[in-house]
Symmetry: D3
Subunit: 69 residues, 6 copies
């Protein structure tokens, strides 16, 4: 499947923290650069995500903000 989301960042799962219904998954997309995703527990299971495994962080452009110092 090819998706319209412009941002597909390849990385490695470094942690998975499941809550009651929502999980936080951290993906290291380059050395020291971590992206946190908040997804359903259901998705964690369905994608068979495991710490140390490969994964992509996928983000729609309209959800990216820009900031400057």
């Amino acid at each position: 499947m090819k998706i319209s989301a412009r941002n597909v960042l390849k990385g490695t799962v470094v942690s998975i923290d499941k809550g009651a219904t929502t999980a936080h998954v951290k993906i290291e997309i380059s050395p020291g650069q971590i992206v946190t995703a908040s997804i359903t527990n259901e998705s964690v299971d369905s994608l068979k995500l495991v710490t140390g495994g490969p994964a992509y962080a996928v983000i729609k452009s309209s959800d990216v903000m820009v900031a400057v110092d």
Copy 2:
């Protein structure tokens, strides 16, 4: 200002494409890794964004999806 968004990725603006009301800003967050942001033209002006300048891509965790091959 410190923000709750878990993802604040430092980089360099590599292109700014202004449309009628909406602009697409590309930020290189590590060599070859580009994040595209879709923001208002008004924000581009207000932040004084310029190609080659420093900027952060800021993303709320609930807007990050995870994918696997």
Copy 3:
């Protein structure tokens, strides 16, 4: 690619309206039920979307609201 987004609705592209930077794509997911997506023109080109062609509307659960009469 398999994605964490819980909502992947199969349908047919019924219209593509490109603006200056942002396009509106309408996908019929069941007879008479249309979903509108607002995506970048760049994505329309990259996915080679055409009216009448097959496509999925993909939506993260945290972006779905619920309403009642």
Copy 4:
């Protein structure tokens, strides 16, 4: 109330899964086509949602992505 969100899909609530603060509500919008919404427990109570009851899945166009095989 009439809302700007372009996507208002009528259906029936097929399940409600409340977590600690966040609930997952599944709405069948056509036979076999389920949309999952991740909303606050507070909203589930406020809307008096019940399994088997009618409900709309409401989605802003800028939150809809498009994918192709």
Copy 5:
């Protein structure tokens, strides 16, 4: 229609700026406090929005971030 979005802020439309496909609508929700919405031109027409008219800014809780100085 009653919606799950926790944030429904009543105000007055102070400006409407239509682009090619996307419009920016500014709503004053209390004296001097303006909220900007980026919606489709189609929605502006469908809701018959006019400068000076009443309107609500509607925001899902998962789209609200928190910041401190």
Copy 6:
């Protein structure tokens, strides 16, 4: 840090409700006008949010809908 999000509403934290992984934070942005944010517990700790303390509700324009009666 200066951010592209057009909506930065100053207020006071009136409640913090931590769940398993996700917290709901209510900010009063003008007398009687409350904005609810759904953020990670991690962010609540990182920003040292406390009831009664000052905070901003930050919202990207593309996440604001408009409604009329």
